[in-house]
């Protein structure tokens, strides 16, 4: 009996909160808020906040064309793989005190899983047989490599700070980090963590492939790159994955640096998480989008491996010396 209840409970985690349904609603809303804010900053009115929902449902109702040159199974399945990976990430990210799944090394799991949506996109693009997708996926790979180094450094800095505080050396468990913050206050209050938080804010638009780091999906030059051949529902799922990725990364930021703000009531925590995610989206994605032009791929690489990595490295060194 307890097994059944436990199974139902996990099913609820996966499907409702913090799994699929929460990801869908919160991610799409974040995307809508982002579009609205960018429009505001550009002196426009902007689409309604619910616009991503309209886009998604419209795409569900469109015809799906599979190009003759495409590898059909990979082409149709890769969007689902990407979305599934993102939902799994969301299950591992603690909502302040509450974690659906936890383990001793979930930061490393998340690090690997964050690659899967991009990889799914690369697979799908490669399977579509379009030359635009070819250009797009080579750029996407470079973008992943650029973002990965600073992201690992940021995660190491956090792991070292928490680890040395609780005496385990390096702490790779997000639930432990969350618990530590609930007791000792948010990590962002530490001076050593400030550069890491700034670096994380700069990584978010690069990981999600948002402006100005969207060379891989440049719609004006390479027809949205890997998505060039997608239409209908698979495209809608990719758009959804993009929205959920925004949610995953911003909630990862909340879990890493703002974990001490939790109230202990789950519904309130979920709401607070969403509000914080929206604020981080506004600061790191929308604001940067509004006043920058698209960077070239080598500029993205250079930027992440110098400026952002340096910020993360400073944080790591400070954490190593226990500041």
């Amino acid at each position: 009996m307890t097994i059944v209840i436990e199974a139902l409970q996990y099913l609820g985690y996966v499907l409702i909160f913090p799994g699929f349904l929460f990801c869908f609603l919160a991610g799409m809303l974040l995307c809508g808020i982002d579009r609205k804010l960018v429009a505001k900053m550009q002196k426009r009115v902007g689409p309604p906040v619910l616009q991503p929902f309209y886009d998604f449902f419209k795409l569900c109702g469109k015809e799906t064309i599979v190009p003759a040159a495409a590898e059909r199974i990979t082409f149709m399945l890769s969007p689902l793989v990407g979305l599934a990976a993102l939902v799994v990430i969301q299950l591992f990210i603690p909502v302040f005190g509450f974690t659906a799944f936890s383990g001793i090394g979930d930061i490393i799991v998340i690090l690997y899983l964050l690659l899967v949506p991009a990889l799914a996109m690369i697979l799908g693009g490669a399977a579509s047989g379009s030359p635009y997708a070819g250009v797009g996926l080579s750029r996407e790979m470079v973008t992943i490599i650029s973002c990965e180094l600073p992201l690992v450094l940021v995660l190491l800095a956090v792991a070292k700070t928490v680890g040395s505080a609780i005496g385990t050396g390096l702490c790779f468990s997000l639930s432990e980090i969350a618990e530590y913050q609930l007791v000792n206050g948010s990590l962002i209050t530490k001076i050593s963590m400030l550069p890491a938080a700034a670096a994380m804010l700069l990584i978010i638009p690069g990981e999600t492939g948002n402006h100005p780091f969207d060379a891989a999906e440049a719609e004006t030059e390479i027809c949205e790159g890997m998505l060039a051949e997608y239409s209908g529902a698979p495209l809608g799922v990719f758009k959804l994955s993009h929205a959920v990725k925004m949610l995953s990364l911003t909630s990862l930021f909340v879990a890493l640096f703002l974990g001490g703000l939790g109230t202990g009531i789950m519904a309130l925590d979920a709401l607070l998480l969403f509000v914080l995610c929206a604020l981080i989206t506004a600061a790191s994605i929308s604001f940067v989008h509004a006043f920058t032009a698209r960077l070239k791929i080598e500029q993205i690489f250079k930027y992440y491996w110098t400026v952002v990595s340096l910020l993360a490295l400073i944080s790591l060194v400070l954490a190593w010396y226990g500041l």
Partner: protein, 210 residues
């Protein structure tokens, strides 16, 4: 790195947008905007000048013969072929073509983009059949001139074809011509005339002979 628009983006976040909320708030075209054509058939004299100057071939004229020597003349303006240059309105001697500020020219069928009007005009009388006969095949009754040119290079009007559109009088550099539309008269002040030929060039009906 330099971000010149960073401050701008932040300040715009809290200020009003510069959108013209068009479908909700109707908007007027600027004065002088050339939109949908209005054609006044009651003013038209079917001189054909508009058709000739139209660069987009947007104007078609059809003549339908009615009883009692009357013609029903229909002018059709195809807005789907129009460049809205307003040359036709400029050349129209009778101001029968008017460009309005109405820019709502959206249609699902091509017929919705046609502006047309028709009027009934007395058919030109077949003048002086006797003269035609005497000249034989030199001057066909329909096309050729029915008056003889002067030898001093000054213009002569062919009343059989003249529609008294006054274009020749307007083009005359020395105001030697007086054309009265109501009285259907065409008079030349021979003292003023310098025999430049502008009137013959301007005539849409080719009825001025030099």
């Amino acid at each position: 790195m330099d971000f010149p628009f960073m401050k701008e983006a932040l300040s715009q976040l809290f200020s009003k947008s510069s959108c013209a909320m068009y479908p909700a708030v109707p908007s007027e075209a600027a004065p002088g905007y050339r939109g949908r054509i209005i054609y006044h058939p009651e003013r038209c004299i079917a001189c054909g000048m508009c058709e000739r100057v139209c660069s987009g071939n947007a104007i078609t004229r059809t003549v339908e013969h009615l009883e009692e020597g009357q013609d029903k003349i229909t002018l059709t303006f195809n807005l789907g072929s129009c460049t809205f240059c307003a040359t036709c309105a400029d050349f129209c001697a009778k101001q029968a073509i008017e460009f309005t500020g109405d820019y709502h020219m959206v249609a699902t069928k091509e017929e919705d983009l046609l502006v047309s009007g028709s009027f009934i005009k007395a058919a030109p009388k077949k003048k002086a059949p006797a003269a035609d006969k005497s000249q034989g095949c030199q001057a066909p009754a329909s096309g050729g001139p029915t008056v003889k040119p002067r030898d001093d290079g000054k213009p002569v009007n062919d009343p059989a074809r003249c529609v008294y559109c006054t274009l020749c009088a307007r083009k005359c550099p020395v105001q030697a011509l007086t054309v009265d539309r109501a009285a259907k008269t065409w008079t030349l002040d021979e003292d003023k005339c310098i025999a430049c030929g502008s009137c013959a060039q301007a005539c849409p009906k080719n009825c001025i002979i030099i």
